[in-house]
């Protein structure tokens, strides 16, 4: 199952990943990070398809994506 890691301290709360996720499984946390931003977080990891669109659209490289099986890549990036 793909794993999306959003680093709370790096996130600036811009919500672009929320808009980008085709599975709509990212939301904004209800707590703020040390910079005072509500950071993004994945609330339904099992439904993640590992497409990486969240990470690709993140302006602050706050998102890493891992997969644990042979993964069909929707597109080269």
């Amino acid at each position: 199952m793909p794993l999306v890691t959003i680093k709370p301290e790096v996130c600036k709360g811009c919500e672009l990943c929320v808009q980008a996720c085709p599975q709509e499984i990212i939301t904004m946390a209800d707590t703020i990070n040390t910079k005072g931003y509500f950071y993004a977080k994945v609330f339904d990891q099992p439904r993640c398809i590992g497409c990486r669109l969240c990470a690709i659209t993140c302006p602050d490289v706050a998102i890493d994506v891992q997969v644990n099986a042979v993964q069909y890549q929707y597109f080269p990036y």
Binding site: V10, C14, E15, R52, P59, D64
Partner: protein, 258 residues
């Protein structure tokens, strides 16, 4: 089960948190350049040139040598370095106020001489660093701190399309316009940027990638609204895609010279 990382911070990018505003797509464009340097193995022989503008501090975010240039002069800096160190990969990272206004003469002649450098031109239709003034790329009717009633094309003229302007030059070049407002276009723009560096590596031609970008703070919108505004307003005026490639030019020469 071993976890395979399929997305992470490129080595050519430092760990520093950028000073860019939340949602500003400069960060994405930085990453695309850094990814291209990584994938082509250029980091250790690269030197970037970042002039005045929001991205003047780009050297804090890249893991390669960097020059900080005067406003508009980055192409000349890059040309100077590339000419004396042709083995290096030299690129500039410029905003629209920098390249399309004060730096027009430098970019025009660098392109026309066919300098083997790569130019990343970020077009967000406004001056960001100085707080939201009208730029040569500001759209008609767009309100900025120096076009408070909206850009009046009768007095400020129409926005400049640099991709088109430079593509009229006869000297071969690779000139394209991409965008950073959506993941789909980030993926395509990354290919343009990587191809530009490949042309430089092959010592083939001058390359410039114009990348539409958002400026939530100075546009006065949220980051997600900004991506929609860009799509609805900028893309119709600044059509996306590759406009000039060196191979076409060679064919054109054949046709012209018969």
């Amino acid at each position: 089960m071993a976890q395979h990382t399929i997305f992470c911070r490129p080595e050519s990018m430092t760990d520093a948190t950028t000073h860019y505003c939340p949602g500003c797509t400069h960060g994405i464009i930085h990453r695309m350049v850094a990814e291209s340097l990584d994938e082509l193995g250029l980091r250790e022989k690269a030197c970037g040139v970042a002039p005045v503008g929001c991205s003047v501090l780009a050297y804090n975010y890249f893991n390669c040598d960097f020059l900080e240039a005067a406003h508009g002069r980055a192409p000349a800096f890059a040309v100077g370095l590339k000419r004396v160190s042709p083995e290096m990969t030299v690129f500039t990272y410029q905003g629209d106020g920098d390249l399309a206004s004060i730096g027009t003469n430098e970019i025009l002649h660098a392109a026309n001489r066919g300098e083997k450098i790569t130019v990343i031109f970020v077009n967000n239709a406004i001056y960001g660093m100085t707080g939201g003034q009208m730029a040569p790329t500001t759209l008609p009717g767009q309100i900025t701190t120096t076009s408070p009633t909206g850009r009046d094309v009768n007095t400020a003229g129409w926005p400049i399309r640099m991709r088109e302007l430079l593509s009229t030059l006869r000297t071969p070049a690779y000139i394209a316009r991409g965008s950073s407002h959506s993941p789909q276009w980030v993926i395509r723009t990354k290919q343009y940027i990587k191809k530009a560096f490949e042309y430089q590596e092959a010592n083939r031609c001058f390359s410039l990638i114009e990348v539409l970008s958002t400026c939530p703070t100075n546009w006065g919108m949220t980051p997600t609204e900004s991506t929609k505004w860009l799509a609805d307003n900028m893309i119709p005026y600044y059509p996306l895609g590759e406009l000039k490639t060196p191979d076409e030019d060679d064919a054109l020469v054949g046709k012209m010279l018969g």
